[in-house]
């Protein structure tokens, strides 16, 4: 039995390709049904997000299944057979498991450590479960995947720090002010980035937002949107003492705010701290403002530096995450290898044969009077019993191998006869 993964992501394909083969939620059930209609595919799951489209399947013939998955992608979206050849990747067996673990742990994401992907994967699995396209193996694999992702998240610092301009601004603000509740934000200029940062700040339930812009109309419009107040651009210095956080993004060529101005404002605020975020280029706030006690100034480069440092931390954490994944793959792979027909039948025969041998030895040791002929007869009789007992179970196991219930029977047989007693504990977690 092999796990197969076929798909493409933001690294292997441009968005123009990705949008062509993305599966709308409404079509996914249909797609899974069609996929399962193929004889070589026993179980299947479909993951479609804006950064990746991937198909996961279980098959006895990995190569054939992978080929089928590829042609299915083109077929379903009405593309030529080789249209995607350059963008698709294919993983089989251990590689496929590793890929899935890495995707779930957000090691394969555009922004390493971003948390959405795990939720998307959970949704994809729930959808597959709902239309019964996953059986024993993918179910077990996905449960394992979720626990690996959880382990990575809790044991490494992969998702702990902000990696976007607006989030890092919020994170810094929280390190200065603690809670952002009851804080007042002032926005000078209405740049896109500034608006985004303001939106994040407002999400932390800041008390008030003041908006100053050269075109007053735009200020009014934003004020309505954020439920704040518009102030005339020329008057903004008068409102500064009210502001805890100041965002600037105007196209002014000189400094709007100088050190001496800020010193005065801080004095009027009785030294309550202020956080200036200057997203404009050229800068709107004199850099020396950062030297004023209780004033903290970050320009766009400073924020970028913070992000770079955070990303470096994440990459370091990613190394640790790979080690965790290596450990977990080993465990899952062991379970999967044992869940094959031939080794199971062999184990079953050996197991019963061992019991027969032990019991015969005991009996013969007690009945010393038996002659060689009688012994032979007893041996033949017990041997025949074993064969008859095993005949039906083996036949069923072979018969069921053709569809996705096969592994259920194999797993049941191994459990009923205690065939993998030593490795049982490994599998339970």
């Amino acid at each position: 039995m092999q796990i197969v993964a076929v798909g493409l992501n933001h690294k292997s394909a441009p968005v123009a390709i990705r949008e062509q083969i993305a599966f709308a939620p409404a079509h996914q059930e249909d797609a899974l049904r069609q996929l399962l209609a193929t004889p070589e595919i026993l179980e299947g799951m479909l993951l479609s997000t804006c950064n990746r489209v991937e198909l996961y399947a279980c098959s006895h013939d990995g190569a054939a299944a992978a080929a089928r998955l590829k042609s299915f992608l083109c077929e379903f979206h009405g593309l030529a057979d080789d249209a995607l050849a350059a963008h698709l990747y294919e993983f089989r067996a251990e590689q496929a498991i590793r890929h899935l673990f890495r995707v779930a742990a957000s090691l394969d994401s555009m922004v390493i450590g971003e948390p959405q992907i795990l939720g998307q994967l959970k949704e994809a699995f729930a959808r597959a479960e709902a239309c019964r396209s996953v059986g024993l193996i993918l179910t077990r694999l996905l449960h394992k995947t979720f626990s690996v992702a959880k382990r990575v998240r809790s044991e490494t610092a992969i998702a702990s720090q902000a990696v976007s301009i607006s989030y890092s601004a919020v994170e810094l603000a929280r390190k200065i002010f603690g809670s952002l509740q009851d804080r007042t934000v002032m926005m000078i200029g209405a740049g896109k980035m500034c608006e985004l940062a303001a939106r994040h700040l407002v999400n932390h339930r800041t008390a008030d937002i003041l908006i100053a812009n050269r075109t007053f109309e735009r200020a009014l419009q934003l004020a309505k949107q954020f439920n704040g107040r518009a102030v005339p651009f020329s008057d903004f210095p008068d409102y500064l003492p009210q502001a805890d956080i100041v965002l600037t993004s105007t196209a002014a060529s000189g400094y709007l705010l100088t050190r001496s101005q800020v010193e005065k404002v801080i004095r009027r605020r009785k030294n309550r701290p202020m956080f200036f975020i200057d997203i404009a280029v050229p800068r709107n706030i004199e850099p020396e403002v950062n030297q004023v006690d209780n004033a903290y100034l970050y320009d766009i480069d400073d924020l970028q530096k913070v992000i770079d440092a955070n990303l470096k931390e994440r990459r370091k954490a990613a190394g640790k995450a790979e080690t965790i994944i290596d450990q977990e793959i080993g465990r899952f792979q062991r379970w999967l290898t044992e869940l094959e027909l031939t080794p199971t039948i062999r184990d079953l025969q050996q197991h019963l044969e061992t019991i027969r041998r032990q019991e015969l030895d005991k009996t013969f040791a007690q009945l010393r009077t038996l002659g060689p002929e009688e012994r032979q007869a007893i041996e033949a009789c017990t041997g025949a019993m074993l064969k008859k007992i095993l005949h039906r179970p083996v036949a069923v196991l072979k018969e069921r191998r053709q569809d996705m219930t096969g592994e259920l029977y194999l797993d049941a047989a191994r459990t009923l006869f205690g065939l993998d007693s030593e490795s049982d504990e490994d599998q339970q977690d």
Binding site: S160, L172, K175, G178, N271, P273, D293
Partner: protein
């Protein structure tokens, strides 16, 4: 028996320190939880150890250096646990538990036998005066730690170099309000400690104030904290300046507590049994 308990307590502080350091280095919350429970355990053991000492000696165990250091560590931990319960500032523990450990280690390296209580100290004023003074000191120790944390955090924010510590430390605002809370608790305790000492001195020696080195330094520390309190309330001092003053104030207190006894001699020294 008590020695064993004392050593176990010290080991508990050591383990708590390790737990907190692992938390600061790796960010694991499990390590922080472990640290917190270890500090609680250490505090419980410490209580028992002090109670046994009290029974053994028959007086509040703050007569020699060994007892005083241990008692101070106990007060500090107790105050920390109260603050932790009330405001949930676990990361304080990362700074406090090493300090408590240090005090315990020094305490166990000085002579430990029970000294005989001089008749002059055999008074109800003794536990009151010493208790208030030590509690005040312990609160100011927390203010000192908050001050150090504030300066570290502020430096990182200003220099824009954010290390792992940056993410573990609380916000500037939290640390600054901790500074203020400590001040509002510590200052009255310290003031009452000084007044109770003066009243006791009056009833024992006939004069309220004799300018012995301990008294002088206690007064200096008191003025530092009075200045800080006044600055905060009237002028709007906060942040870095408040943190710096809390640190300076605590250094004065440390000198009052240890420096005076070890370097100068007077009524309060441990060695000469003429005074405390």
């Amino acid at each position: 028996m008590n020695m064993l308990l004392f050593k176990t307590t010290t080991l508990c502080y050591l383990a708590a320190t390790c737990g907190y350091l692992v938390h600061v280095a790796s960010g694991r919350t499990a390590a922080e939880q472990a640290g917190r429970w270890l500090v609680r355990g250490a505090f419980a053991l410490h209580c028992v150890s002090l109670a046994l000492r009290l029974i053994e000696a028959g007086y509040t165990p703050v007569v020699n250096l060994h007892e005083s250091l241990s008692f101070f560590a106990w007060c500090m931990t107790g105050i920390f646990l109260l603050f932790d319960l009330r405001y949930g500032l676990a990361v304080l523990g990362a700074f406090l538990s090493p300090l408590a450990l240090l005090l315990m280690v020094i305490s166990s390296s000085v002579p430990q036998q029970v000294t005989e209580l001089s008749p002059m100290l055999d008074s109800w004023w003794f536990p009151i005066h010493v208790g208030l003074a030590f509690l005040g000191n312990a609160v100011f120790a927390v203010a000192f730690i908050a001050g150090v944390m504030y300066l570290l955090q502020e430096r990182m924010l200003k220099n824009k170099r954010l290390s792992a510590l940056f993410f573990r430390l609380p916000s500037l605002d939290t640390l600054d309000s901790l500074n203020y809370r400590c001040l509002t608790w510590g200052f009255p305790l310290m003031t009452m400690g000084i007044i109770s000492g003066a009243v006791w001195a009056h009833s024992a020696w006939g004069s309220y104030w004799r300018w012995d080195p301990k008294e002088t330094w206690a007064l200096i520390s008191w003025f530092v904290y009075a200045a800080l309190l006044h600055g905060r309330l009237a002028i709007g001092w906060r942040g870095r300046r408040a943190a710096l003053l809390a640190i300076i104030g605590f250094l004065c207190l440390l000198f009052t507590f240890l420096g005076v006894n070890l370097l100068l001699s007077g009524l309060h020294s441990y060695e000469s049994l003429s005074g405390r």
